[in-house]
Subunit: 111 residues, 2 copies
């Protein structure tokens, strides 16, 4: 099955309670059926030349681009997105069909 990813890299504004944001986002992802998969991470190597100041990554997967669009249009997402964007100092969002290279798909059986 295909996997369509919605990936956000962010840096939060000073004073933002990041744990609360992550909790709200986790709740939203859990409630919305179109979200197949949600996870996040905080950069730990802190190599400023590589992170460009970004600190957190949020990753959601959908079955299709249509499911992503449906999620973005959902009123619960709209309500959250306003709070989320207001808490950010900088953000990059990428939306893409994910190509898995390794682990490789099972080889076709020999004929």
């Amino acid at each position: 099955m295909g996997e369509f990813k919605h990936l956000c890299l962010v840096r939060f504004k000073e004073g933002v309670v990041v744990d609360n944001i992550i909790q709200e986002l986790s709740k939203l992802a859990t409630e919305l059926d179109t979200v197949k998969y949600f996870g996040w991470g905080k950069d730990v190597l802190e190599q400023e030349a590589l992170t460009q100041g970004f600190t957190h990554v949020f990753s959601m997967s959908f079955a299709t681009a249509g499911d992503l669009a449906a999620c973005m249009a959902h009123e619960k997402h709209a309500a959250f997105a306003a709070t989320f964007m207001a808490a950010l100092d900088k953000v990059v969002v990428m939306d893409f069909p994910f190509v898995t290279v390794k682990p490789a798909p099972e080889p076709e059986p020999a004929t």
Copy 2:
């Protein structure tokens, strides 16, 4: 088992043959045993205000931060990294232990 991610967002320089780079990177990821998982994607929504000009995402997973460090120190990685970085117009790299929220882990069996 834990999952430690190495994530790169990039924009390639004009004239770079991106398919060749992806092919080399796929070969490298397949050869290096510390790389548990490798995949990539190209942004398709092209919302410049959100992508900030980044076009491609590369995602590798390792069992531990130590395995990532071992991979980065490997001579095959060093050789590839020089070619890769020279092909980039801009790049962000994030390294983080990945926290999976959904699908949630299986609940403990009731006692």
